[in-house]
Amino acid sequence: MVNNQFGMIGLLTFIRAAESDPNLVSLAMGQDLTALGLNLNSMENLYQSFGGPFSDGPARPQDIDYPVPSEYLINVSIRDKLAPLSKMKHYKDDLLFFLFYTNCGDVMQLAAANELYQRDWRYHIEEKVWIMRVPGNTHYDKNGSIERGTYYYFDAQNWRRVPKEFQLDGQKLDTKPPIAIT
């Protein structure tokens, strides 16, 4: 047989190295390319939301600066001529959270917080996260102001509502946010 790295023995050396030290042969054995954060089965083109060569996931909508018509960009001189806030109650929770997190220091943030409060969401002052009891789930162990059970919380990083079992100190929940005086 060929007794150098250009025959089967050379390949066998790689295969055996792969078992003992995968790092040694990361090039030759390759890696799972589906684990690089790209949805290779997507029916859409990937490049439009490509997060870049060093990011583990696609760019999210809020990361991308879409070229919007200039009218959409609130111009300093006209912003107070814009239509007043529409009825918050028409908005879904998802939009309310978006308004809450992207309108910091603004009336909009308070208005969104208020509407969430109406919908039984509560803002945890320390954890700085919105939580709510799971509707229909009455099983909460109470002990003074401490409560234990399954709640939903809104995960703003992954932008989704997540059920989770935890212990809650009711005193740490924010009261009804001050209504925005507009």
Binding site: F6, A17, L24, V25, L36, Y47, P53, V76, S77
Partner: protein
């Protein structure tokens, strides 16, 4: 040299003034703010001539760079951007409004001048700061300027292809082997979603694709020396993984681009980067349906696409050097003599200007593809398509067989790789080289040739996916067709792991 006194101070005042305008009321009436500012530039003598303008941009760019070194970019990049973004906007407005609307020459001259200034400062900065070089400001200037100039605007749309050319030219000058301190930003810039869209999706294909292939070749050439070692440093692994991500986006969105330029890429990708090379060779046109290679009794030569000519955007014939070698080659292909030519081929292939490798891989790849395409042309001239019978007993196969026999293990490994690089999606090259490889296996006068053919195929198959279609059908034919007596060879049973591998592939075939 002999700068007018106070020019630097005037430049600094103007830049800061513009930054203030940008952040306060430029949004109110951008055009008015800009035209007022241009008047001011004029009054300050910036626009009176080419030299003054060049000085201003050099000072202004340097001020942006200095802000980066004065602020810790990891903490304060917003502050840095609030300084750079207005400057970039000013550049974009000056480019857009210089000269008549229809006169793209003045616009592009100004753009190329400014890109040249930024490049000059970057290379100087890298030389001075060495390992303390900070890439952030340059990254921001390039990407924001590109975004500004590629925003949908009729004046800019009109010069977009030239803007792309200017940026590709700039990125080629700043390729990683020239600006290694900028290499991560460089990969971000050439793979930015807007840049990909512009150069691969909307630019005239021939122009955009060709320029982009050059940038990828720059990247592969830079990575090659660091990828030859088995163990990769973290910094190399990151750049390599980033490259894989970009190639996956190209494979998914622009497979035809990888199909057309695969040859140039395989010239510069090191032979041990098997998965990355497989990724490129696995690309196939989106309008093509690949038959499952494991289909029992798949009749490859009956496939509708199997005799289509693939596009190859590389001038491989011109890569066959020196000219007298090409002349002798063509003579031999034409008249199958003098036989002495066959014994001279190896000598040409062993002249490598690439330090550290004994063979001229690009010449090997070009020679194999050239001989194969000449053989195909000859077969097609007789209104036939390649088959196991009409590809043999001719000058072309003489050369391939001679290379299989005459080269040493390393040379033969590289030769067989050159053939295996053509085993791609159903097309006439895949078909010809698949038949050729099986014929070389069948006619081998030593078992070493058969072993190395097996090695070259197997190492491409045991790596993580994707696997090129042509590679799979060739290997399946080799192990299924009893006339190759594949299973009789000792090297098939040389170790339990190897034997297990073959059996697992054989099982998937059966």
């Amino acid at each position: 040299i002999d700068e007018p006194p106070g020019f630097l101070e005037r430049s600094e005042y103007l830049l800061k003034d513009w930054i203030t305008i940008f952040h306060t009321h430029a949004t109110r009436d951008p055009i008015k703010s800009f035209s007022n500012f241009v008047n001011k530039m004029n009054i300050y003598g910036i626009l009176k001539g080419d030299e003054a303008l060049t000085r201003f941009f050099r000072h202004a760019t340097q001020m942006c760079i200095d802000v980066t070194y004065r602020n810790d970019p990891t903490i304060n990049n917003t502050k840095i951007f609030k300084y750079i973004d207005p400057y970039v906007r000013l550049i974009a407005l000056l480019v857009k409004h210089s000269g008549e609307t229809s006169n793209s020459t003045t616009k592009l001259n100004l753009l190329n001048k400014i890109l040249g200034i930024v490049i000059g400062i970057l290379l100087k900065d890298q030389e001075v700061h060495k390992q303390n070089f900070q890439q952030l400001a340059y990254h921001r200037i390039f990407i924001m300027l590109f975004l500004e100039l590629s925003s949908s605007d009729p004046v800019l749309e009109n010069i977009m292809t030239n803007v792309l050319t200017a940026f590709c030219h700039a990125y080629h000058i700043l390729r990683p082997s020239i600006a290694p301190g900028f290499c991560y930003s460089w990969l971000e810039l050439i793979s930015h979603r807007v840049f990909l869209q512009r150069i691969l999706a909307t630019a005239p294909q021939a122009k955009g694709w060709s320029m982009y292939s050059q940038l990828l070749v720059d990247l592969f050439k830079y990575l090659a020396p660091f990828l030859r070692n088995a163990e990769l440093a973290k910094s190399v692994t990151l750049l390599y993984k980033g490259t894989l991500r970009v190639l996956l986006v190209l494979l998914h969105d622009f497979p035809e681009f990888l199909c057309d330029y695969h040859f140039g890429f395989c010239d510069v990708i090191p032979p041990n980067c098997i998965q990355m090379r497989n990724l490129i060779l696995s690309a196939y046109p989106r309008n093509m349906r690949l038959p499952d290679p494991f289909t029992p009794n798949l009749k490859v030569d009956m496939l509708s696409d199997i005799n289509t000519q693939p596009r190859i955007h590389s001038n491989y014939a011109a890569a066959i050097q020196p000219p007298n070698f090409k002349k002798d080659l063509d003579l031999y292909l034409k008249q199958r003599s003098p036989v002495t030519f066959l014994s001279e081929i190896r000598g040409h292939l062993q002249i490598s200007n690439e330090p550290g490798s004994r063979y001229n891989v690009p010449l090997m790849n070009a020679l194999v593809l050239y001989v194969g395409t000449q053989a195909i042309n000859q077969i097609r001239a007789k209104n036939q398509n390649p088959t196991m019978t009409n590809i043999i007993h001719n000058a072309h196969m003489d050369i391939l067989q001679n290379l299989a026999v005459d080269l040493d293990n390393e040379g033969r490994y590289l030769f067989l790789n050159a053939i295996a690089n053509q085993l791609r999606y159903p097309n006439i090259h895949t078909h010809y080289f698949s038949c050729a490889l099986l014929y070389l296996f069948d006619e081998a006068n030593t078992e070493a040739i058969q072993e190395q053919i097996t090695r070259v195929l197997l190492e491409r198959l045991i790596v993580n996916r994707p696997h090129p279609w042509g590679l799979l059908i060739t290997f399946i034919e080799l192990i299924k067709n009893p006339s190759y007596k594949f299973w009789d060879h000792d090297f098939v049973h040389c170790a339990p792991e190897i034997e297990k591998l073959f059996e697992s592939v054989a099982r998937s075939c059966m």
